[in-house]
Amino acid sequence: MKTLRDMLRDQEYERIWKAYLGFLDLSIDEFMDIQNRLLLEQIELLKQCRLGQKLLGGARIRTVDDFRRHVPLTTYDDYADTLLNQRSEDLPSEPLHWVQTTWRGGAQPIKLAPYSKSMVEENTKMFMASLILSTSKGRGHFTLRNYDKFLYGMAPRPYLTGYAPYILKHEVDFEYLPSTRQAEELSFKERNIVGFKLAIKKGADLFYGVSSVLVKIGESFTNGTTSSRTLVVPSNPKQAWKMIKAWWKKRIKHQPLLPKDLFEFKGIVCGGTDSDTYKSQIEHLFGTTPLEIFGGTESAGVATETWSRNGLTFFPDVNFLEFIPEDEMKREQEQAGYQPKTVLLSDIRPGEVYELVITKLRGGAFVRYRIGDVLRCIGLANETDQIALPQVKYLDRVNNIIDLAGFTRITKQIMGDAIKLSELGIAEWTACKEFGEDRTYIHVYVENPEQHDHQTIRERINQELMTIDSDYRDVNLMLGYDPLLLTEVASGSFARFEQAHNNRISRINPSQEDLHQLQA
């Protein structure tokens, strides 16, 4: 089978488009056929392994309907014992890699997810599809080529994103900035800095990174905080010309320098929560509208934007997709133990909000698994791009987690611990996520019984959060802003709220109305 490298070399662009992006031509019925067919394969694989037998229960499952009727929804707790002990023999297929991520609010600090050979192949294809799309201006068009320079700003192995350069090696010849070998010896932050310097020197064609990091890099560049004092010698005439123009702009015309003066990315792929918030900034700084992809460690790639960059389209063959409608989510919150019902992609409706439930295909371990992401359906087709599949936008993590810029996930437990350890005598508090103009914050509302100084409270809580949660610390260090906002509410407010509503205010992400009433 020809690799992407071969097809690019032979200039078979139409064939590449068909192979990687042919799914954009599917109708919803064809899409569902692929989903159903691959789910039946997965059911067969699950039946033959111990983990699968446990999850499927004793029921006879032969059809997609049987599967949805009899198999309960799961969370990582259902897999922790098998996966954290890396019990390969209990899985539907032999893992090639064990991919790691942090487990917020879990029993263990990390989560592991197995990736079989077949899953790795599909995931590679999916990632390539997004990369190709990031350089595309319309159906069938793209400018991605062999030997493109790739500024790679994602977390290293054993995180999922770290595997991509190693897997892509077999598919296509990219020049990574820095090279994978060099990158292995550098920390995440150092790699970004070194990569950026190399990009100034050589030019860069592709970028893949967390949106917030890209904005931070761009801003530092504009403010001159990261531009190194050392002289960067351009390695090709094109880059030399760009540097001369940039110098002219900055020194002679005295205009502020933006990254787009030095770079001409063919495509930028960004991921992470809040990507939507950062998109316009990235475009302003880098001159290229980023293409958002949506996925995670357990799910791998789930959906990608297309060339109009307006709405995510799902990949048909990576996960079996189910959606919990908003009213079912509410009912679950109200009734302990309630099993929410799901709908399929063919049943989602524009304007509605859904929590995503995935079943990994191709021998993956996760079955009806709640990854904790909430999406909004924005249409049943993308008319601009002529895609006849439902389009969604990523909204946020499920309501019981505060996710900041894709960096950290603050749970009730973490917030509670930080407040307790700050030793300020605070017993009543609630915290929620708040969107600023171009960044996101965590807003804590507290009662202050010991009458501490406002600044002290903020600093102490901030300090404790940084101690407990290294990812939170990274928001401070990497993105260079302090995401904590604090509001003190009058003493007794929480008790009054409880009296009035016969219920405590939610500790995490209470509704705006509840917050309003708390402060009233």
């Binding site: 089978m1 020809k2 071969d6 070399r9 032979d10 200039q11 064939r15 068909k18 192979a19 042919g22 799914f23 031509d25 599917l26 064809e30 056929d33 692929i34 067919r37 691959l38 394969e41 004793g58 029921a59 006879r60 077949s118 062999n146 010849d173 048909p316 063959d317 191709r362 021998g363």
Partner: protein, 840 residues
């Protein structure tokens, strides 16, 4: 005037050859390879035509034509290097290639400023030139490029990245180019244009290599033109050689100078040449059309063969081997459609039996053909979105078959199968002509395959049972008798598999469900047996399996596997409505009997023994078995023991709520009385009495809070309450001797108008004893005291029964019940805990 000399003849011939090559390339399909090669050929054409004209007196000047020559000469090495990269599937836009273009531009500057060749002259047929600095510089760079092109080929071959067969001739050709280039440094040899000659050889070798390895799809028209040209050139050479040599011999050896005599002597020679002409013609045809001719022969032979055969196996095997021969494929497999899948019908290479090769009807490849598509290529399977739903196992299957092309077999535009063709023996790609041949041969075969399939199906239908696809009774009799007569096997086992309580199942769920159950059981049997065993639908609910070769104990183990599988699928399944089991009786040939009748009788006796000892048993026939005739008394005792347990259980349910205490017993007595009044026989009366006792046994699983809740139940609670019926069945189905109560118990909440539960059946569809118990149950409930109301009086209860006759109750049975009540017969019953009624 242009005069041909020994100096310019070589460039002219080379130019002619390159022109032919260019025509071939330009009329072939456009690929990266053809593009790279055509640039090289054009450069060579410029070089050779420049060289030719330079060595003539054609104006403007020798130096001018020399400059034209340089354009070709200087560009050849870099284009050769590029071609070399492309041929070895390597990346060709490298710095070194780009640098070569720069060198070309620089050398052109040298050329047109007379720094490449300072002067060139052609005087009196002698060509002389004086080299400049550019020429020496280029000699180094140019030969470097040529050597690099050669080195890439050699290295790739050495590393086994490229097959020697593919590039061997190209390597020889390139070596010639390098040698030719080196010879040029000597003006004495250089003046003859040896380098051009070597380059021409190189081009010929490359052309042949491309043709042989099918790098390019050579157009048929060009091929025909080419074959004529080659034929003409060869004939011209032969005639010229014959005429010149014979003329020389006649003239100089024999001294004959008279033209007429010479012609007369030479004339017969032309007749002698005729056989030679035929040989040359055959040779060119062989070279250019050999495969086409072979394929036509194959097609003809195949057509003759299939027209004389009606046997499916023979036809498909012939098709597979014809396709394999004609296309030189490694492997050809033919799959045909049956009712539920595409199965492997024939294979050109023997396949492992255990390798169960089949494609489901929903296979993406089938969908592809169903959409009217024709040939399917491996690259399409790899890349087309329609194949995203392929299972890993299916991908592996396609890979294991070395699949290169899949061709549909269609009859009347309906897909009846497909042919999977592997890659070719020499791993070169298939040509368009070959795929056309493939479609022709398949189209020829389609109707005949369909015909043969129909005949085979009719033959098969006459010996198989339609529902289960097992052999029918008649075929079994014939085959088994034949086995015995011919003493085909030294031993074999015969197992009769009889479905327990199948009549009840049929009555309860209808014949359609009964057939479905039969089918499922037949699938279970098929799943628990191998191809060696013979499977038979012996009677309505009876199957027979013949186990050749196996010892009695092995037969027992295998037959018991069937029983266990049926039990698991039905009785132990989560679906509480399923209660079927099978009883299996086994007799062994040569152990228990030597005739088929004997074996069947004994296996039947074993089945009976299994049924009598509680069903769901596998029993091997044994002479003088102690269990052979299970005493009817023991049977009764077993059943009594069961029934006592049930009484106890029923009493427990009633006791959960003291208001309903005695309810089950009362329903049993009332139902018995009504059934007797309706004229049912004793056996039915016993069944309905048991059903009455058991009808609410499922309430054991209903939470106390729902069961004893005063007042109305919520919708959710009502749903829970309703589930007691199905739960009752779930309990009863495990008690072998009470299974005949199932249809009654499951219907006691059905309503005559169809608004009842759990099945919502109506009227006569409700088993009649179910309708009986429904009245008894309602009557007892009405007359029971409740915490919030007193029980109804007999009159009130009768009024209610009348009111609901025809809607809730069977009106005829209601009338009979009212007669019972009004005649005072009910008062004689030993009803418990019914003060309101008993007092009436």
């Amino acid at each position: 005037m242009i005069v041909l000399t020994q100096y310019n003849i070589i460039p002219l011939i080379a130019f002619a050859l390159y022109s032919i090559i260019l025509v071939i390339i330009l009329t072939s399909n456009r690929t990266r390879l053809s593009r790279a090669f055509s640039f090289y050929v054009v450069a060579m054409m410029i070089w050779s035509i420049g060289s030719f004209l330079m060595k003539t007196d054609v104006p403007p000047s020798t130096l001018f034509w020399n400059k034209i020559l340089q354009i070709g000469f200087v560009s050849v090495p870099v284009l050769l290097l590029r071609f070399s990269y492309v041929l070895t599937d390597d990346y060709d836009r490298r710095g070194i290639v780009r640098f070569g273009y720069v060198v070309f531009v620089v050398m052109m500057v040298f050329t047109f400023t007379n720094n490449f060749v300072r002067d060139a002259s052609y005087v009196n047929g002698v060509f002389e030139y004086e080299l400049g600095i550019g020429a020496y510089l280029f000699a180094v760079i140019g030969s470097g490029y040529s050597i690099a092109a050669l080195a890439i080929m050699i290295k790739k071959t050495y590393d086994r990245e490229v097959a020697v067969r593919k590039v061997g001739l190209v390597i020889i050709g390139l070596s010639l180019v390098v040698i030719g280039g080196a010879l040029n440094l000597s003006p004495t040899i250089g003046q003859y244009g040896i380098d051009i000659l070597f380059n021409a050889f190189n081009a010929l070798l490359i052309t042949y290599s491309i043709y042989r390895n099918k790098f390019l799809e050579i157009n048929l028209v060009v091929k025909r033109g080419l074959s004529v040209t080659v034929y003409n050139i060869l004939m011209f050479a032969i005639y010229a050689a014959v005429i010149i040599s014979s003329f020389t011999i006649i003239r100089y050896r024999f001294g004959i100078t008279d033209m007429t005599t010479t012609v007369l002597i030479m004339a017969p020679l032309f007749f002698l040449i005729e056989p030679l002409r035929i040989i040359v013609q055959r040779f060119t045809q062989h070279v250019f059309y050999r495969r086409t001719a072979d394929r036509q022969i194959v097609l003809k032979q195949f057509s003759d063969l299939i027209n004389s055969s009606l046997e499916l196996d023979h036809i498909t095997t012939s098709l597979a081997s014809a396709v394999q021969d004609a296309l030189s494929a490694k492997e050809v497999n033919i799959l045909l459609k049956n009712t539920n899948r595409y199965y492997l019908q024939s294979s050109s290479t023997p396949r492992d039996q255990s390798d169960d090769l089949h494609f489901s009807l929903h296979h993406p490849i089938i969908s592809w053909f169903d959409k009217g598509n024709n040939l399917l290529l491996k690259t399409q399977i790899d890349n087309h979105v329609m194949f995203k739903g392929l299972w890993d196992r299916e991908k592996e299957q396609i890979r294991a078959l070395n699949t290169e092309i899949i061709a549909p077999i269609r009859y009347n535009e309906r897909l009846i199968g497909f042919v999977i063709i592997s890659e070719r023996n020499d791993e070169t790609p298939y040509s368009l002509e070959e795929t056309e041949f493939l479609q022709t041969i398949i189209n020829n075969a389609a109707a005949i395959i369909e015909n043969a399939k129909t005949i085979e199906m009719i033959q098969k239908q006459s010996i198989t049972d339609e529902l289960t696809k097992f052999y029918n009774h008649r075929h079994f009799q014939e085959t088994a008798n034949q086995w015995i007569q011919e003493q085909r096997y030294r031993r074999f086992g015969l197992a009769i598999i009889d479905i327990d309580q199948f009549k009840i199942y049929n009555d309860l769920y209808g014949h359609a469900s009964g057939d479905l159950a039969l089918k499922r059981i037949s699938e279970i049997i098929a799943g628990a047996t191998t191809d060696n065993e013979m499977l038979v639908r012996y009677g309505g609910e009876e199957f027979v399996v013949l186990y050749p070769h196996l010892k009695p104990e092995e037969v027992f183990v295998k037959a018991d596997q069937i029983r266990i599988a049926v039990e698991r699928e039905f009785l132990l399944s989560d679906d509480i409505r399923e209660f079927l089991t099978v009883s299996v009786g086994i007799a062994n040939y040569d152990v228990n009997g030597n005739t088929l009748e004997e074996l069947i009788t004994k296996a039947d006796q074993a089945v009976m023994e299994g049924k009598q000892s509680g069903r769901n048993k596998t029993v091997m026939y044994r002479e003088n078995s102690e269990h052979k005739n299970v005493d009817a008394g023991v049977q009764d005792k077993i059943r009594d023991a069961f029934v006592s347990s049930i009484y106890a259980l029923a009493a427990t349910i009633d006791a959960k709520d003291h208001y309903t205490y005695g309810h089950s017993n009362n329903v049993a007595l009332l139902s018995e009385a009504l059934a007797r009044k309706a004229g049912f026989g004793d056996d039915k009366i016993e069944v309905v009495r048991n059903a009455g006792l058991l009808h609410d046994i499922g309430k054991v699983g209903i939470p106390e809070s729902v069961l004893s809740k005063p007042g109305f139940l919520s919708q959710e609670e009502y749903e829970i309450m309703k589930s007691h019926v199905t739960q009752s069945i779930n309990i009863i189905k495990h008690i072998p001797n009470l299974i005949d109560t199932v249809p009654i118990v499951i219907s006691h909440h059905e309503r005559y108008d169809g608004k009842g539960y759990p099945r919502g059946i109506k009227g006569e569809n409700i088993p009649v004893l179910g309708r009986v118990i429904c009245i008894a149950d309602a009557f007892d409930a009405m007359t029971t005291d409740r915490p919030y109301r007193k029980g109804l009086s007999l009159e009130q209860a009768i009024f209610e029964l009348k009111k609901n006759a025809g809607s809730q109750f069977d009106p005829m049975l209601v009338d009979l019940f009212i007669e019972l009540a009004q005649s005072g017969e009910l008062n004689l019953l030993q009803l418990e805990n019914r003060p309101s009624f008993n007092g009436a």
